[in-house]
C-alpha cells in the first residue's frame, strides 16, 4: 500500500513533456491542425502531472516525517521532554500550505491556460495552412506510436490509482489517457489527409478546441463550487486541478459512477444511495431504448408541408401508386425501408441569365444605361462582357476584306422564374436539374440573341422576345424532361454596354435618340414654315384678284358712265357746236383754275423784262406747269 509512487509520477510528466515537444515539432512540420491542438492538451497535462508530482513528494516527506516521529516516540518512551509542537512536523505544515495556497492558485492558472489555449487555437485554426501530404505518413506513424505509449502508461497509472487508492496519480493518468486518445485522433486525421479528405483534420482540431473550452469551464465551475462545498472532517480533499471530464478516460467506471461520485462529493452525503438515483441508474438503459424506439417509430409517418411534395421510395424503388405525396400526413414503412424526399414544388424558384442586378444598388429608384448597376466581383470592370447580338445594319454593311467582327455586344439581364410541376421528373432524370435548367436557359438566350436584330430587340420586339425565349426554354425543358414550368421570363435589362472611359457606347446610343429628336424638330420647324407660307400666299393671291376685280369693275363702270355722258354731250354739241365748246372750255377753266395761281401778262408788245417771284407759291415737290395759251380759235374753227 505504501509504495513509493514518485518514480511513476516522474515517468508520467516526462512522458507528457517528451510527447508535447515532439508533437509540437511534428505538428509544425506536417502543419497538422489536430496535432497542434493535441500539443495544447499535452502541455497542460505536463503541468498538471508536475504539480501532482510535487504534491506526491510533499506527502512522501510527510509520511517519512511521521514514521521518524513514531520511531522517536517509541525510543524515548513516554518522555515528557518531547511535546508535539507546531514546528514538530514541518513537512505536514508545508503540505498543508501547499494545499491551501499553491493548489487553488495553480488551478486558477490552469483555468486561464485552458481558456487561453482554447481561444488561441480557435484563432489559429482560422488561418491555418492546409496539411502537407508528404509529411502525413510519418506523422501518422509517430502519432500512432504516441497513442500506444501514452495509452500503456496511462492505463498503468490509472489502474494503480484505482487499485491502490493513489489519488495523486489520477490527474496525470487522466491526461495520459487523453493524450493517447488525442494522438489517436491526430493519427486518424493524418490518415484522412492521406485519403484525400483534408477537411477532417480541421474539423477534429475544432472539436478539440471545443473540448479544451469545456475543460476550462469545468475547471472554473470546480473552483467556484469548492468555495461552497461543506467541509466534512476526515474526508480526503479532492484534487482541485483534476478534471472529472478527463478522469472519464482513466476510469472505466463510466458516466453514471463519475456523476454519482461528483454529486456525493459536492453535497457531502451519499446522493447515489437515494431511491431516485438508484431508479435512474437501473432504468437508464430502458429510457435510452425507449427513446430510440420512439425515434424509430417517428419514421413511420411523414408530414408534407403545404408548399411541398414528397417522393416515396420503398427500398430505394419508386413507391408505385404512392410515389408522390401531397401535403398532409402520410404513413409509411419505417426507415430504412421507406424513405421520403421532399421537394418544394409550389414554390417559385428563380435565377438570372446574364448580369445579376446588384442588390446594393437596388435602393436606387432608377436604372440607367450609363450608370453601372450590376453586381461585380473584386477587380472586375464595371461590367462583364455582355452577350453577342446580331445586327441587321451590320450584316448589310459587312465588308469582307476588312473583316470587322460582325456582332454587337449588349448587356443583358434576364430573370427566369419557374416552378417544379413534376417532382418525379425533376428528381429522377437529372443529377442537378437546377443547374441544367440554368444552362438550357443560357443557351436559349444566346441562341435567340445571335439571330435577332439589335435595334429591334431593344425596342419594339422586347415583349415578343421575352415570350419567344420563354417558349423556347420551356420546349427545351420539356424535351429534357425536367418537369418544370417556366412561369416568367423578363427582358429586365437589355441595353448597350457601358463601354469604357474612352469608348462610351451607351452614351453614343443615347445620342442617337437625341439625333432623332433633332431630326423631328427640324422637320417640324419647316413644316410650321410651310404652314405659315402657303396660307399667306393664298391670302395675297386673293387680295390681288379682288383688287383686279375692283379695278376692272370701276374701269367698266367708268367707261359706261363716260359713254353715257358723251351721248348727252354729243347732243348738246350738235345743237350748237361753237357755243358748246367755248362754254365747256370756259367752265372747265374756271373750275380748274380756281386753286391755281395765275399770272396774266397783258402787255404783249412791250420789251420789258418781267420778274416773277414764284417762290412763295412753288413747293419743291409740286409740279409746275406753264401752259401756253391754246389756239382757241383754231380749235373752234376746225369744227
Amino acid at each position: 500500500m505504501e509504495r513509493n509512487i514518485q518514480p511513476i509520477g516522474i515517468i508520467n510528466w516526462c512522458a507528457l513533456l517528451v510527447a508535447a515537444v515532439i508533437s509540437a515539432i511534428l505538428a509544425r512540420y506536417a502543419s497538422a491542425a489536430a496535432g497542434t491542438a493535441g500539443v495544447a492538451f499535452l502541455v497542460l497535462g505536463f503541468l498538471v502531472a508536475v504539480v501532482s508530482y510535487f504534491q506526491m513528494r510533499l506527502e512522501e516527506r510527510e509520511r517519512l516525517e511521521r514514521l521518524e516521529f513514531d520511531e522517536l516516540k517509541k525510543s524515548k518512551g513516554a518522555s515528557t521532554l518531547f511535546t508535539e509542537g507546531a514546528d514538530t512536523f514541518p513537512a505536514l505544515r508545508s503540505r498543508q500550505q501547499f494545499e491551501k495556497f499553491v493548489i487553488p492558485i495553480f488551478t486558477a492558472l490552469l483555468f486561464l491556460l485552458q481558456a487561453g489555449a482554447a481561444w488561441w487555437l480557435w484563432q489559429w485554426l482560422g488561418k491555418a495552412s492546409p496539411p502537407k501530404l508528404n509529411a502525413a505518413k510519418m506523422a501518422l506513424a509517430l502519432y500512432a506510436l504516441f497513442a500506444l505509449i501514452l495509452f500503456l502508461l496511462g492505463k498503468y497509472s490509472s489502474s494503480l490509482a484505482r487499485l491502490e487508492g493513489q489519488r495523486l496519480l489520477r490527474p496525470g493518468a487522466g491526461y495520459l489517457m487523453l493524450g493517447a486518445f488525442i494522438s489517436g485522433l491526430a493519427a486518424l486525421s493524418e490518415a484522412a489527409v492521406l485519403g484525400d479528405f483534408p477537411k477532417v483534420d480541421l474539423s477534429i482540431a475544432y472539436g478539440l478546441g471545443v473540448v479544451l473550452a469545456l475543460m476550462a469551464v469545468e475547471t472554473l465551475v470546480g473552483l467556484v463550487l469548492e468555495i461552497y462545498r461543506p467541509r466534512v472532517k476526515g474526508q480526503e480533499a479532492r484534487l482541485l486541478y483534476e478534471s472529472r471530464l478527463i478522469g472519464l478516460f482513466g476510469q472505466p467506471g463510466g458516466l453514471v459512477t463519475t456523476a454519482a461520485q461528483a454529486l456525493d462529493y459536492q453535497f457531502g452525503f451519499k446522493v447515489s444511495e437515494t431511491w431516485i438515483f438508484k431508479f435512474l441508474k437501473e432504468a437508464v438503459l430502458l429510457i435510452v431504448l425507449l427513446q430510440l424506439g420512439a425515434l424509430f417509430l417517428s419514421t413511420t409517418f411523414v408530414i408534407i408541408d403545404p408548399n411541398e411534395q414528397g417522393l416515396l421510395e420503398h427500398f430505394g424503388r419508386q413507391g408505385g401508386a404512392r410515389a408522390t405525396l401531397e401535403p398532409g400526413l402520410h404513413f409509411k414503412w419505417p426507415w430504412p425501408i421507406d424513405k421520403v424526399y421532399r421537394y418544394q414544388t409550389r414554390q417559385i424558384r428563380s435565377f438570372v441569365v446574364g448580369e445579376v442586378p446588384d442588390s446594393d444598388e437596388a435602393s436606387a429608384r432608377t436604372v440607367l444605361w450609363t450608370k453601372p448597376h450590376f453586381k461585380r466581383a473584386e477587380g472586375e470592370g464595371p461590367e462583364a462582357p455582355g452577350m453577342l447580338v446580331a445586327s441587321r445594319s451590320q450584316t448589310t454593311q459587312t465588308n469582307k476584306n476588312e473583316k470587322p467582327v460582325p456582332a454587337n455586344i449588349l448587356t443583358v439581364s434576364i430573370p427566369f422564374q419557374y416552378r417544379i410541376t413534376d417532382p418525379v421528373a425533376w428528381a429522377y432524370h437529372h443529377a442537378d436539374p437546377d443547374q441544367l435548367l440554368q444552362k438550357l436557359a443560357n443557351r436559349e438566350v444566346i441562341r435567340y440573341l445571335i439571330n435577332v436584330d439589335m435595334d429591334s430587340i431593344m425596342s419594339d420586339n422586347r415583349l415578343a422576345a421575352a415570350q419567344e425565349i420563354r417558349r423556347r426554354v420551356q420546349a427545351r425543358a420539356d424535351e429534357r424532361k425536367l418537369g418544370v414550368s417556366i412561369v416568367f421570363v423578363g427582358l429586365q435589362d437589355i441595353h448597350p454596354p457601358l463601354g469604357n472611359k474612352q469608348i462610351q457606347v451607351a452614351a453614343a446610343f443615347e445620342q442617337v435618340f437625341s439625333a432623332t429628336q433633332q431630326k423631328q424638330t427640324n422637320i417640324l420647324y419647316w413644316q410650321a414654315y410651310a404652314a405659315r407660307t402657303i396660307p399667306a400666299a393664298l391670302a395675297s393671291a386673293t387680295n390681288i384678284i379682288s383688287e383686279a376685280r375692283n379695278v376692272a369693275v370701276s374701269k367698266v363702270a367708268l367707261a359706261e358712265g363716260e359713254s353715257a355722258r358723251f351721248t348727252n354731250q354729243m347732243a348738246a354739241y350738235q345743237a350748237s357746236p361753237s357755243v358748246y365748246t367755248s362754254r365747256s372750255y370756259l367752265e372747265t377753266l374756271a373750275r380748274s383754275l380756281g386753286p391755281a395761281s395765275k399770272y396774266v401778262i397783258t402787255a404783249t408788245n412791250t420789251q420789258d423784262v418781267l420778274t416773277l417771284n414764284l417762290e412763295e407759291n412753288i413747293r419743291s415737290d409740286v409740279l409746275k406747269s406753264i401752259i401756253a395759251p391754246p389756239d382757241m380759235n383754231k380749235a373752234a374753227t376746225n369744227k
Binding site: L286, L289, H314, G316, R317, Q318, P385, L388, V389, A390, S391, R392, T395, K403, V405, A407, N408, I409, A427, H429, H430, A431, L436, I450, N451, R480, I503, A508, Q511, V512, A515, Q518, K519, N522, I523, W526, Y529, A530, T533, A537, A541, I544, A548, V556, L558, S563, F566, T567, Q574, L586, S592, L593, S597, K598, Y599, V600, I601, N617, P629, P630
Partner: protein, 300 residues
Amino acid sequence: MKQNKITLVTSGVLLVIFLCMLFTFQVRQTEVAVVTTFGRYSHSVTNAGFQWRLPWPVQKVYWFDNRLQTFESKIDQPITSDHISLLISVYLGWRITDPKLFLESFNGDITKAEQTLEPIARNAKNGVIGLHRFSDLISTNQADLKFDQIEKEMFDAVQAQAKSNYGLAIESLGIKQLNLPDSITPTVFERMKKERETLVATYQSEGDREGKSIKAKADNAANDIIARANAEKEKIIGQAEQEAAKYYAQFEQKPELARFLFDLKAIEASLKERANLILGPQTPPFSLLNGATNGSPSTR
C-alpha cells in the same frame, strides 16, 4: 431478470441490424450498383430496390448516380475559319450507361470522369469552331446561321470519342457561353459607337434634307399661288378693258368732240394740284382783259 430481457432484446435487435447491414443493400431509383466479389466484377444492378449480398470483404458494392449529369467545359478561345477569336464554353449532359466500364475507367469517380470529358469536349468544340465562319454563329439572317448545326457537329465529335470507351454516353450538348475576348471587345465597342455616330449624322442630314425640301415645297407652292393670282388679275383687267372698249366705241361718232372733251379733262386733271399759270392775254377768257386795255373785245 428484467434487465436481462432488455439486454437480450436489445442485443438481438442490434444483431439483426448488423446482419442486415452485412448481407443486404439498397439501390435507389436514381442509382445503379456494381457488385464485385473479391475485387472481381460479378454483376451490375440496374433495377432499384432491395438486394442481397455477401458481407465485406467478400463482396463490395459501388453505387453510381444513373441520372443525367451536367458538366460544363472550361471557357476557351478557339478561332473561326475567318480568323476571329471567340470565347466559348459548352455544357454536356451525360449518363453512366455501363457501370462496369465506368468503374474500371474512372474508379467510379464522377469528378474523374468529368476531368476526362473536359479535353474531349474542348477538342470537339475548338475543332468544330475552326471549321466555321463567324457569321455561321451570329447573323440576323436565318439562312446564314448554323448554330444548331455547329452544336450538332460538336455533339457528334464528342459522342464519337466518348461512346464506347468510358461506359458513359453523351446525351446532349449545348453552347453555354459565347463571348468575345477582352482584346476584341473594345474594337467592337468602338465600332458600335461609330455606327451610332453614323446614325446620328444620318439623322441630322435627313433632318436637314427633309426640312429643306419642306421649305422648298412651301415656297414653290406660295410662288405658284401668287403667280396664278397675278395672271388672273391680268385676265380680269384685260376683260374689263375689253368691256370698257365697247363703251368707248361711242366716242367714234364724234371724234373731234371727243378729243376736245379729253383735252378739257386733261387740263382739269393737270390743274388739280397747285399750279402756277402764266397766261397771255389771248387766252380766253382773259382775252377780255385785252378789251379793257384796247377798248374792244376781239374774240372773233
